[in-house]
Symmetry: D2
Subunit: 347 residues, 4 copies
């Protein structure tokens, strides 16, 4: 941490600062410039709130030197984290993994049919929401535990592992009995009570980036889960909020290679929520793989026109199947492969 003193700060203020820093067991290193005096703090600054220094008299600004996340950082752990599901499927090991399914589980028949359809197209994991965060209290809120049961039956029928959202700490126990991967939605990325509960779970967590959250905050949310005991976190970019209104969100695709630099955690992309428009999903899915994503989460619905939720951004199975072929080609073009697909020759 570096402290910049105000122009005209006094010797007494400097001494006060130094004694405060020494008081918490850290060392200082003073450098007097022409217009400003700078104080370097030597030691691990992560347990130390920068805002506590900012408030001292004579202090102009405090600058952190280290990233505030540790367990999630590439510096802490060089080799990529690989997550292995009970059926042996790995995420983050090199192969591209696709999660697909409806926004919300609607009934037993359709979730089974969708599971079989996406499996047929080559998807590896079935997604489906039983608990739905909805902006309006007057629209469909999900089937709850009945939805989880339907999802489990669809897993049995299709053989696909399942990922589903959990919205509340009190549901974590229940959802983790059913799901292979537990999802934290964008609106809950900073629901710290929920994150701490998920730190106690022995299943991987899919952590969506909050729509107003910086990459640093996203990695700090992962850090909350990891510091609570669960190191199996999969990051998922799903678009951030900007002034642009044509698309539902703005997909921050540069976050993919950036997170790969900063962290060892696997990162996937969700172009369905990021764009909100089925026509934009295939190009952005391809772009995500080209940018280095380890996988995709895609909304697929048998009959988008009659979906109870998010039909406008859902692909029909046939479109999804076609996209999977294209993804396989793109994967090869960046030196990777789509899990379970014949490796195609590129270049």
């Amino acid at each position: 941490m570096i402290v910049v003193m105000k122009a005209g700060s006094t010797k007494q203020e400097l001494d006060g600062l130094i004694s405060k820093i020494n008081g918490v067991g850290l060392q200082t290193h003073v450098s007097e410039g022409i217009e400003r005096t700078i104080v370097g703090i030597i030691g691990d600054e992560r347990n130390f709130d920068a805002r506590k220094i900012e408030v001292l008299p004579g202090v102009e600004r405090v600058i952190r030197v280290l990233q505030p996340f540790k367990l999630a950082s590439r510096e802490f752990k060089q080799e990529p984290t690989v997550i292995t599901l009970p059926n042996g499927l790995t995420i983050g090991a090199g192969g591209i993994v696709i999660m697909a399914g409806p926004c919300a589980i609607e009934d037993q028949r359709s979730i089974i049919e969708t599971a079989l359809a996406v499996k047929d197209a080559g998807a590896h994991i079935l997604r489906g929401g039983a608990y739905k965060p909805r902006t309006s209290p007057y629209t469909f809120q999900g089937l709850g535990v009945r939805g989880l049961e339907m999802l489990a039956i669809a897993r049995e029928e299709s053989g696909l592992p399942i990922v589903t959202e959990v919205m509340s700490p009190s549901d974590v126990g229940l959802v983790s009995e059913f799901a292979d991967i537990l999802q934290v939605g964008a609106r809950n990325m900073q629901n710290f009570t929920l994150l701490h509960s998920l730190g106690k779970v022995k299943k991987p967590i899919l952590l969506k980036r909050g729509m107003m959250c910086t990459v640093e905050e996203w990695l700090m949310a992962a850090e909350h889960i990891m510091a609570s005991g669960n190191h199996e976190v999969i990051l998922c970019e799903r678009g951030i909020r900007t002034f642009e209104t044509y698309t539902r969100n703005t997909m921050d695709l540069s976050a993919i290679p950036l997170v790969k630099q900063l962290s060892h955690l696997p990162v996937i992309a969700d172009p369905s929520h990021a764009t909100g428009s089925s026509a934009l999903v295939p190009p952005m899915a391809k772009a995500s793989i080209a940018a280095g994503a380890d996988g995709l989460m895609i909304e697929v619905h048998l009959d988008p026109e009659n979906a109870l939720s998010d039909g406008a951004q859902s692909l029909k199975p046939a479109v999804f199947a076609e996209m999977m072929q294209d993804i396989n080609i793109i994967a090869s073009a960046v030196g990777r492969y789509l899990e379970g697909f014949p490796k195609c020759q590129a270049g």
Copy 2:
């Protein structure tokens, strides 16, 4: 709701749309323009998800006509909602109400002293956090239930009602035993499970605006609480996230008069979190009252330099007391008054 058909959409597509709308019991009204055909949907569109229409063939765009919130709207209820606390204090009735206290409760002595100091300066309600949402898992997370107990003792000593944050549905019961007003923090504004729990509580809810949330979403969050049974919601503007970095957030002060137009709920302002800088709190507090706020929430700390949380934005009691005098003058200047203060003559 209005549906704009694509240029070149077919008669069959139009018929499909109309039959779908009729199928849910709503009527249509078709208007053929030169470049586009427009279909008006007649009936209450609130229970109807616009995105379900967007996905139909031939549809270019769907536009909502009514505001999606109902119970929270000025149209539904003309007269302002007035909230009365057990000690008879009213919020939203015309008098300006001030909530003040530390960001986090640190120990019994300091919370009592702060309570007495802010009361002395004229504050009406004591604030203090027992559960703290913190970006880093490595910094102080609040005292939890011990903090609630300290807060209750400070209420007894000072006579001030108390407002404190609740972060999880499972804590709602406990927190509502202690607090006079339950606060939903910005990061939980769209924690719908929490909102629904608060709908069952018989105490007023202070609902902070999410830092990435639109005014419409904020009112929809209030709608979630109200539709679950609790109509006593106080809105609190605390800054939104923008690209500006000098301030912690960007205080959207125009949201105050805007919400007054759109809703009957009382609305207060929190310049401490909005700016993150104690030097900016007094001018923005005055500006908030000038813009029409029904109250303020202000962070006050006996010794900001040693605060465990958010010292940089906390006022010392003496500065707070001085600001209260200024607020009283501004209140008069906009034809209002600070609760319990001698009315001053303006103009």
Copy 3:
């Protein structure tokens, strides 16, 4: 400037950095921490592009210590800049100054009538656009030089000095023959060629904040004008772009007291463009004065329903006159006064 070296950077990389810094005549000060080595650069960093250091091998991050603006800074010049117009009116000297008039000049009669109406209500300066930046090429683009002539006649008739926008370096000469204050619109805040031309003019410049610009960039735009020779710059906050859609822009009112800390330049507020809605103008005008603005720019139109531009945000003269009375009261409440008004007693 402070340079943070990467974890694991080599001695050779450090030496390379130091020799590069020494090469431009600056000194260094090295501080070795546990996880990082930090290099302080001693000397005036303003002429030195931080990005040139960032690119060196072994460098993780470069942090500026000094504000990049100098002439515009409070540190450079403590006392507030006061701008005096030919008629003796001062801006920034303590009295609040109001600029009012139509968005666009439409014809000779209406600009004279508006000038007389706003003067009658107590306004000090007449505003009116002859050159209009319009998003669409198909709407009214302003009267150009004919508009300037009409404005000059309205000045003669009313005695009010005039402020008007200039959009192009090639128009600077012409516009400065007519205007008492030249305005740079938000969309041109970083039109550096225009800023440099205005640095050669001997008239005050009203510099609107760009809707996507940080406060630092705004002050840097002022610095461009000042470094080119003209130190008479008036800053004007007019709202920034965010995700909120109810209002035209989001008025960043905390920028007012912030800029007062950072700079000696006078700063005014434009609630008409910031909100886009006439109903929100009076509350936000009052809030602006309460926050410390030195003046206001307000759109007034004789007949907003038939305005050629921005009628929705224009006040009718009677509403404006009433607002002026309220502004006078608010000004007193913050220890200031509205130029030319009887000082009212507050408190």
Copy 4:
């Protein structure tokens, strides 16, 4: 255009609206709902400012139905616009085109060497700035006309067409004597005087998206150029401003397929400015092609560590050459090809 009347609006207000609309030669179509009356306006709304209706009594909201851009729209012109340079190179015809070179022209030798190096790697067009918009007045502002002359010599030596920025209407004549494509920078995207000047030029215009501009405003800026007479516009996505700070801007890659839907104009991507970091350029360049871009603009510098501008985001020639090979493979994977490269087999 659709007008939503307020709840409780009167018959007289409705009549006033209709007569105003009829007055400008447009027809209306009234639809009475349960909670609101809706008025459709029939005819071309583009020459009609929606804000003029908004201000009428009884009007709640005005909604445009048609896109405000016409000449730039896919609806107006189905087939893609193909731009042909003097040397026969086409942009927008299917082949991917790469523009590469330094941020700023620094001297004759280096611009020639860079031109030869990027040509050798397969680039098609040489970029280089002679006029540089710089945030600070104290850093390198470009070589001006001397830079243009150096660029022209580099064209002669390399055979590559050149693209360079023009910042002011008064420079348009001069720059168009030298450049094959004239570039409008992000900060000038709404410099309407400049856009109108470029409408008179007989050379293609590269129009960068403003960092705070919506896709609609970007297409409207193109419309300004086209409506002034020049239909040869190439759009360039270069990142928008958000709250994220790790990257210089946030690259809005979904704008690429979106603009392809909305417009017939070619669109390219600039990952150098969008990310600000050379390590992120190759992945985002590949992602841009996967998303459907017609080309790329890439900053390449012989010696980024000593660049006068933007070294941190510049690629060295060897890295650029390697990236070109990857781009060729990605192009094949999306059924396209890199101009002048052997078509590689994908799939």
